[in-house]
Symmetry: C2
């Protein structure tokens, strides 16, 4: 989509409207980043006035172009654009309330606060990597539903900081490899970072770097509307993702601060603001937009209504079943047959118990899910055979096989996580991706955004303890389960057998308001569950084995592979005449969210409480009290066959029983 060029004077007026709102809002808030929106106002004006397919009144229309402000600190750029183009909720009062409690204009763009913001940005590099996921989802969805349903661009404005972050390399390598030709990145190439001129810390030739990753890349004057527009047109026609490095002046228009780091992260100050407005020919009145300028912007905001209607007509020609399926997928609704498929799978497990690693149990669950859930989109960061995430029927996605529904993300855990956020935000797919649990450390900034935004991403994290054995402490998670439980809105499951794995997958796939981590073993585990009447993992914890032969003296809480240890300890204790019950805790965080009544019932009143988990104690005192017995790790692991490690670190039925006996005396 491209419309005619604006007369230069008109372009300048429109761009300066963005600048005035950015300057004034930051000034009023006494906080924020004026320089970025001032510097990129010309780029944004060209993009929005001539290219971006959007309908301001309908910010969630499925086939809109996606616009991602990766340089999220320049949030006033997007808020100004939303207000100017007439987004329903973005009033001038909201602009005046920039960065205030309860406003639609928080410090960084938050998609869960502000309609029209496609993704939450601010942590640098996340926006561009998330946009790669959006462009990937577009390509896959177009391949499946056709161009009548999906045919849009994904545009990104990115900063030096975005491109310095390592995740940007993972993202651009994926985009180049997948030939995501509808991804266009406009680089705010202003040669300024917070510490001063970019030259004090960087000398990368970005154009050459992007070319090395398979992108089309060129450099233009970021204050020349025609040059920007021509470059976007060339980008649209190329068969590759495109970088347009736009040479800009940060704080464009500010007489003293423009082109310096002074324009970056603080208000201009009254004098400089006044002088900037004079220089730009803007009214000195705060937040003042001339009626003709606002009118012109509002027309731009309404322009896309026609494109939306055209799309609606085209989409309406698709078979009704296809339309319904598309709508279901975009609405993140799960197909009815998913529940049935998982119920049948669980029943089959009861009939034929599986004594296998939970990563293998997960593979069985995936085999059951895939035929029932076409939006299921698995992948791995180059550990497919170890993570067991690829269904036999799954075909790998590639530029040549866009209908493939398995993603080889390469050794790019962080890029994978961010791309999954983009896929989930775009809609149409339920992404899940895998690596070793220890490498959640590499994914963490993007996992946090999953949690903050509430995307329903599933992280399939295998090799979840010292149970991975010989690879040693660099690969053995010890603190990771605790560290993920600490993250608000991140659901962490560590299932103990094939049944719990199926239950946790079910809960994860039906969770659409936040991400889930599945922590799975490398090593084999027995199937402990003998019934599947209800999804017992749904409350986070439940009594797996009750007190027998009297009132419980001991409750053994355990997760994942250590539930087997608890069961073993229970037996050893029984041999000594001590009555113990076992509580399986597939999700400690979910359990702690239950009502006090449920928690008290499950925890029970046995005087000795023991938690067994091959990780650190942190978090368990909430269940067992600070006088409870913890059987787990107190430091890093070691390299050896896993059974030896469990003995070495004292995570065994014997060590557990001993600790209990020592307490009971």
């Amino acid at each position: 989509m491209s419309t005619a060029a604006l007369p230069r004077a008109q372009h300048d007026k429109l761009a300066n409207a963005i600048r005035t709102l950015a300057m004034d809002a930051v000034e009023k808030a006494k906080s924020g980043h004026p320089g970025m929106p001032m510097g990129t106002a010309d780029i944004a004006t060209v993009l929005f006035s001539r290219f971006l397919k959007f309908d301001a009144a309908n910010p969630t229309w499925p086939d809109r172009d996606r616009f991602v402000l990766s340089a999220g600190h320049g949030s006033m750029l997007v808020y100004a654009l939303l207000y100017l183009t007439g987004a329903p909720e973005m009033t001038l009062d909201e602009i005046k309330n920039f960065r205030q409690l309860g406003s639609k204009t928080p410090g960084h763009p938050e998609n869960f606060i502000t309609k029209g913001v496609e993704t939450t940005t601010g942590p640098l590099g996340q926006g561009i990597a998330t946009a790669v996921g959006m462009a990937l989802a577009e390509k896959m969805l177009a391949a499946e539903f056709g161009k009548k349903a999906v045919d849009h661009y994904t545009y990104v404005i990115a900063s030096d900081g975005d491109l310095m972050e390592g995740i940007s390399q993972e993202a651009i390598a994926m985009a180049g490899h997948w030939k995501l030709n509808k991804l266009i990145v406009l680089f705010d190439d202003n040669d300024i970072s917070i510490d001063g001129p970019l030259s004090i810390a960087d000398s990368v030739d970005q154009v050459k770097r992007f070319q090395a990753a398979g992108w089309r890349a060129e450099r233009v004057d970021g204050h020349d509307p025609e040059a920007i527009a021509a470059a976007i047109e060339r980008a649209q026609k190329s068969g590759k993702p495109s970088l347009i490095a736009c040479k800009t002046v940060i704080g464009y228009g500010a007489p003293k601060k423009a082109g310096t780091s002074k324009a970056h992260g603080e208000p201009l100050g009254a004098d400089e603001l006044k002088a900037a407005k004079e220089k730009l020919g803007i009214s000195p009145e705060p937040f003042s937009i001339a009626p003709d300028v606002l009118d012109a912007w509002r027309k731009i905001g309404a322009r896309g209504a026609a494109a939306r209607k055209t799309w609606e007509s085209l989409f309406g020609t698709l078979p009704p079943k296809k339309q319904a399926e598309f709508n279901r997928r975009l609405a993140h609704e799960r197909p009815a047959k998913l529940a049935k498929a998982l119920a049948a799978h669980k029943k089959a497990l009861i009939a034929n118990p599986q004594h296998i690693a939970t990563r293998k149990s997960s593979e069985l669950a995936i085999e059951a899910i895939v035929p029932a859930m076409p939006e299921f989109l698995a992948g791995s960061a180059d550990l497919t055979g170890s993570n067991n995430t690829k269904a036999k029927s799954a075909v790998a996605f590639s530029a040549k096989t866009p209908k493939g529904r398995y993603i080889h993300y390469g050794i790019r855990e962080h890029g994978m996580a961010a791309a999954m956020n983009g896929i989930a935000l775009h809609g149409g797919f339920a992404p899940n991706g895998a690596t070793f649990l220890v490498f959640t450390d590499y994914c963490r900034p993007a996992m946090r955004l999953s949690a903050l935004m509430g995307t329903g991403v599933v992280y399939v994290m295998t090799h979840d303890s010292i149970g991975l054995g010989e690879d040693g402490p660099t690969h053995q998670p010890v603190e990771h389960v605790a560290a993920l439980r600490a993250m608000p809105n991140m659901r962490v499951f560590r299932p103990c057998d094939a049944i719990e794995v199926a239950e946790c997958w079910e809960l994860a796939l039906n969770r659409t308001d936040g991400p889930t981590t599945l922590a799975l073993t490398r090593q084999n585990l027995p199937q402990l569950r003998t019934e599947v009447k209800a999804n017992r993992s749904a409350a986070g914890a439940y009594e797996l084995m009750k007190a027998e032969g009297g009132k419980a003296q001991v409750t053994l809480f355990a997760t994942g592979s250590e539930v087997e240890v608890a069961v073993g300890a229970r037996k050893l204790l029984a041999d000594k005449g001590i009555v113990a019950r076992v509580v399986s805790v597939p999700s400690l965080d979910l359990f702690l969210e239950q009502s006090a009544e449920i928690r008290e019932t499950v925890i029970g009143d046995a005087p000795v409480k023991v938690a067994i988990e091959a990780g650190v104690r942190m978090g368990w005192d909430a269940v067992i009290g600070n006088d409870g017995i913890f059987v787990g790790m107190t430091g890093f692991g070691a390299s050896a066959p896993y059974k030896e490690l469990y003995k070495h670190f004292g995570i065994t039925p014997e060590a557990t029983a001993e600790a209990v006996l020592a307490r009971i005396g």
Copy 2:
């Protein structure tokens, strides 16, 4: 350093000795990665036989070339080289005990287990980024002490996986910018990843990419000794860091598995192993190295003794004071005047209390430290003015100012953290680097290696809570303090005022067996401490304000900015006739490591225990019990001025006192 070429037949014998040990050790362990050492045996043989300046008998000689196996899964490469060259502790029995408990040959190379291993690798990308820090330290130390003291190369063998990881981009951008010309990366360019041919996930032109980052880069045949040697010679002469992409065949020599992902991560199997040995002309006997081959390798290992002696002579010509200072620095010993400088600083604070943000208090401490501690090497990931890490006297390091002792790392938190590990491992500097606390998520894999290796890196993490205000939830750490406390051997300090900041800096700088995180505020705080007789932060927690007017009914535990809240609550409670004491907890993890006696004394027996921290509760139950009152966060923050946020989230003296009153009834 370069010696004459070996006759090709001799080269092959030496390289095949590496291959046989790698194949046999993995086969015996039934676990490991044979393909990488088999594929890189030729590269390693050229490097060790002709270039690497090392003395096998003296693995810690200061001016040795550093050799980093970034592709740590190929650990048998380095173990084979250590054994063959005659490293004292690396016996054939150790090789035979590959990946077994207590061996010197763990699954991935661990520098704290195996002498001669320069850094712990395995998590991909860490090795190359750590090596950048080593090369940086070399350049800085050479600038300060001269080439008689320091004049060595840093060599890296890196894999596709290392280069796909985002951290590699941060690392190579820094190395290129700093013109680290003595850093030479040999890329094991084998076109294979775990999931299959590299082409399923990657198409980056690595040579072009490195050139874009300011490197010299070329591609050679990785099985042609002369081509490899010639490329290393060209690299040594270039004024830039160098990438030598060596085209190799993974599992070189294995008739069926060579060149496939089957050779990567599992034993070859008896038949393939036998066939490989036949093909390579190696004895079928396991672990068999012909005496002449071992003898040739041992001569290579002894060759560097001459270079070491030459260095000793040259170093001996330096003024004794300079020698002593160099030796002190390399031994990680702190200068005597450091303690004096900090004592004077604390005394000055008592005389002139500072009501400032702890990031500003940290700046004051740094100003006191810098003149007393020449090895103090501060830096920031482009937040210098916000992190307050640059002393007024500090000059920025650059290729042109190698004596500069402040590092502008750019917007590369992860690269910064890994480089600091390399600097610390190299020796000569005490690195500390800064960003916002929330971005520890970006650093986490390298921080974990700091903790695992026990490097004395200091992470200066400012803007440590919702107290950062308007930047909003993407920038507000909520779970990060807990997540860092969960990491074994990571010390986390959250000081409450300028005195505690000075104490925590002192503890951090004197900690040489592990890393420290300092969590510091953006917002101003009162100076609460009124005496500095002892370093009270040293036990992690202490009674700041005792019970007055009776026995304590309440103990208020708090950290950092919330100690002020506790003090305020104590006063409100006193007004209601309730006696409360305040315990400041600058380090919860350090406190929990104290003896039971110390812990019990500090915790005391007041019936109501309250913890106040603007983060999640996780971890606090260990102090306050699971029935304790926690005043803090239960989810993500919001964007607003910080005082409003504290009210909004109920982290105030009033809310605390109310919660106590509700409990006491």
